[in-house]
Amino acid sequence: MNEHGTEHGGQVAQPGPEGFGREAVRLDQGHIVGTGGLPERFDNPGFPPHIPRAADLDERAAKRAEKQVATLFGLSMLGTLVFIVAYFAIPMENRVFIPGIGLANLSNVVLGVSLAFGLLGIGIGAVHWAKTLMPDEEMVEERHPLRSSDEARGGFVKTVLTGGTEAQLDRRPLIKYSLGGALGLFALPVVLQVAGSLGPLPKDELSKTMWKKGDRLVRDPELTPVKATDVTIGSVFHILPESIKDSEHVLEDKAKAAVLLMRLEPEAIKVAKERDWGHDGIVAYSKICTHVGCPVGLYEQQTHHLLCPCHQSTFDVTQDCKVIFGPAKRPLPQLKITVDAEGYLVADAPFREAVGPSFWERG
């Protein structure tokens, strides 16, 4: 580092004999030609003088620190005791109003705060102890290059190579290649077992729901059928198929069959197919978002927009639930509905396409 003459090495530059300032110069541009016998870089000045702490110099300060540490440890013990008492004494259902926080479970608050005191007392006490009374003069440990010596490295390579030679790997390629083959294959049974047994194949299940022709539309979660006359303009119903009552896998069937039922002014509907598949302005759409499958739960009555609360895909019910904003691509599938002899809404056909998020073979 210090190649250029060491007589000046690392010293603070001293004013020349002629005093300061013979001419004004730009300081951000070196202007002196040559290095003038100065080193190219500064030298590390070494450690600054150690500044002793109050507790190092004054026994009273040390005593004060000792008391502070002991107080903190004492607070910790107190906190732990409060925890133990509170654990038995405070009933679990008691509630307490804490300003700034609101109504809270008393047991939880007292247990947590006393636990925190028990822990923080120890922690802050120990750190304070270390900072005030333990040695604070920095120590130096030398680093050594991490790499092994060349002999050790050579020895390692030699051991590996001799091992290979002694095992006759080079001379007996038959063993080498058959071992490679065996090692390459042996993991397959394990992988196959896991991959093969994790779950069934989907077949066409993702494309089907339990809706079938004639299935009544029932309210979710009451499971009562809906009359067309119950559905007033602007109202929205969460709907399930009536056959869900007999389902053995309620959640799985619900996850595909959930439907939203809305009634619009028939002239507000802009798509003929939507009007045909509905009944007098009543339309039913899959509630499962075509993006990643959250229920499209938010219906805006005035604009007839459906909004998915997960990723904000927005569907326009007047345009056959086309996506008008957000990350979804496909419209929500429509369920063709009609009314039965008793005036209840029923499905007129199963869903024409797969509901929910896209998948590769969906087409």
Binding site: V12, A13, Q14, F20, A24, L27, G30, I32, T35, L38, E40, R41, F42, N44, P45, F47, P48, Y87, E93, I101, V109, G112, L115, A116, G118, L119, L120, G123, A126, A130, E138, M139, V140, E141, E142, G199, P202, D220, P221, L240, L251, E252, K254, A255, H291, V292, G293, P295, P309, H311, G326, P327, A328, K329, P357, S358, F359, W360, E361, G363
Partner: protein
């Protein structure tokens, strides 16, 4: 290694049959020596443990970030073990009959019921659950901030690339571990998260629907996902996390901790405090502080009130469905990706609108993070070991890249709250989303540029400080009525912080042809390397050299004219020779006196 003559070294003396050391020892020493001797007779551990106890670690607040991560992981392991005693990882349906009245009579999974029981019927169960969740959130915060510290100070440089790679994997696995954990209670919010996760899996080309059916053991939600996630959350991932973490920390001890540059600190030493007693107290105490703060938060601030969400049901949903914060960036990416990225071709569906954010984002992001040290090493061609950290300002391009990455991450994370922002700020959610889409591309370059300029300015300020000294605020008037401010030169210890670093110069492109005019085989990659090197190091500020400082002193710039110099530059000669300057020199020597 080999059997050497038996010398009474420190470790040997601990053996029971060894002669007593000549110096008299207290009762405590004899007691410790006795127990340690018993263990050492059977393990020979005294030497190694003694070495570790004397090991020196450098002190800096930013080195505690990794400690916070380590301690919150330990808190998670402790409280998590407690929770397994009461949590029932089953999707079997039961009717609730516990003490939380609003849910009485509701059908729910055993997982959800047992989580309610932990919260309401098991004494102290709620505080343990809350500590577990808060510690998990803190764990991931701490990992990320620790990673930023390592990045911005260049601590990932040789020989620590390997530990950077391990750390990046730890960070990524922590996300998965967190997601698996908060999905377990089977409440409405976490179930909706799993619902979305099922949609993510389906977006994988070719095998998507199979993947979904394999993971969920059939159609969503099924009864298998909860027990499977449980196995992943309490067994598989913790084992991997603890294993990788152990290697991570062993490497830190083996390679010795990096240190910030400073007087007395070199690339060949570690300056700091020994484990025994200082770090035993400081780091041990810090564990209790982290635990205590988490306990305090858990007592006073509710996290994940699953009782308010209700049990999972695929049909209902609540507005404002957000994942835990660390999944926010991925969720935000999904909100920003436009729908037109999904298309049908050859009769198959390509859902890039989902796949980019949900499947590719995390591995690609962590892949880039993992590879960064190797990119920088290639650009600088620097194969030396680095144990002194960079001040972030001294590597403006790296700092800029890091800040740009953080900016992109933040845009995505804010996007996950686009609905909340729209409600709270009374803005259109569509406008917010469009804005964030634009910002994702615009903000990172802007942040890069600004950061780089700030870094360069800070370096110039360092130069200025070294050359001009500190402004004392003392105004001095000369005999002829001129004013100037007295500057005080930096002491060599303060100055060292600003002049110690070395600046990389951009690599020059060699001709790329050998003496026969044949293009070198790696000419193309070398050309690229020279270009990237230019990008990194074209703008640089060299640290002040002794000659420059000498020049500054020589020219009297320890004083600085307050008024502008007249055109032509009125010389400062008069100033230097005026009596007041002598005055200033006197105060200067006064200062150096103490």
């Amino acid at each position: 290694m080999s059997t050497t003559a038996h010398t009474a070294s420190g470790a040997d003396r601990l053996r029971a049959n060894d002669p007593e050391p000549s110096t008299p020892v207290g009762g405590g020493m004899r007691k410790v020596g006795g127990v340690a001797g018993w263990v050492d007779d059977r393990t020979g551990a005294a030497k190694g443990v003694g070495y570790l106890m004397k090991k020196v670690f450098p002190d800096h607040w930013s080195f505690m970030l990794g400690e916070v991560a380590m301690y919150s992981m330990i808190i998670c392991l402790l409280t998590g073990a407690f929770l397994t005693f009461w949590f029932v990882p089953s999707a079997g349906q039961v009717v609730y009959d516990g003490s939380y009245l609003p849910l009485k009579g509701v059908t729910m999974s055993e997982a959800y019921r047992s989580t309610l029981d932990i919260s309401f019927d098991i004494r102290g169960g709620l505080i343990i659950r809350q500590i577990h969740h808060w510690a998990a959130l803190l764990f991931i915060v701490a990992i990320n901030v620790h990673m930023m510290r390592v990045f911005f100070t260049g601590a990932f440089r040789k020989p620590r690339e390997l530990n950077w790679v391990l750390g990046a994997q730890l960070s990524m696995l922590a996300l998965v571990e967190g997601f698996a954990g908060y999905s377990l209670p089977d409440d409405l919010l976490s179930g909706t998260g799993l619902r979305a996760a099922e949609g993510f899996m389906r977006s994988v080309p070719v095998v998507g629907s199979y993947l979904s059916y394999f993971v969920f053991n059939g159609p969503f939600p099924g009864e298998s996902i909860i027990p499977r996630l449980y196995a992943v959350h309490v067994l598989l991932l913790p084992a991997i996390l603890v294993g990788l973490f152990t290697v991570h920390i062993v490497l830190v001890a083996l390679q010795k901790h990096t240190q910030y540059p400073g007087p007395g600190r070199t690339n060949d030493n570690v300056v700091g405090f020994p484990v025994m007693p200082v770090y035993a107290a400081k780091a041990g105490g810090f564990f209790f502080i982290v635990f205590g703060v988490v306990a305090l938060m858990s007592a006073l601030v509710t996290i994940n009130p699953i009782w308010a969400y209700g049990p999972y049901d695929p049909s209902p949903v609540t507005a404002g469905s957000q994942p835990d914060w660390y999944m926010g960036f991925a969720d935000g990416a999904l909100r920003l990706l436009p729908g037109f990225l999904e298309f049908t071709a050859f009769g198959f569906t390509f859902s890039f609108n989902v796949m980019i954010g949900a499947i590719l984002l995390i591995p690609v992001m962590y892949g880039l993070i993992t590879l960064y040290p190797f990119l920088e090493e290639w650009v600088t061609g620097d194969k030396r070991e680095h144990h002194l950290l960079d001040r972030p300002r001294n590597n403006p391009t790296r700092t800029g890249i890091g800040m740009a990455g953080i900016a992109a991450y933040c845009v995505l994370m804010f996007a996950a709250g686009n609905d909340i922002m729209a409600i709270k700020l009374h803005l259109s959610i569509n406008d917010i989303t469009m804005m964030l889409r634009a910002l994702f591309f615009v903000l990172p370059p802007v942040v890069f540029w600004i950061t780089k300029r700030i870094c360069l300015s800070l370096q110039r300020r360092d130069r200025d400080l070294v050359l001009h000294g500190r402004e004392t605020g003392r105004i001095i008037r000369t005999a002829e009525g001129r004013f100037y401010e007295q500057h005080e030169p930096l002491d060599p210890y303060t100055r060292w912080n600003m002049v110690q670093h070395e600046q990389h110069r951009p690599l020059e492109l060699e001709s790329g042809v050998d003496e026969n005019g044949v293009a070198a085989p790696n000419a193309r990659s070398q050309r690229l390397r020279a270009k990237v090197s230019q990008f990194y190091f074209k703008d640089r500020v060299e640290p002040v050299s002794p000659a420059e400082l000498e020049a500054a002193h020589h020219d009297g710039h320890h004083v600085e004219a307050i008024e502008h110099q007249e055109p032509g530059g009125a010389p400062l000669v008069e100033v230097a020779s005026s009596p007041s300057t002598d005055n200033a020199d006197a105060t200067e020597s006064d200062r150096q006196g103490h």
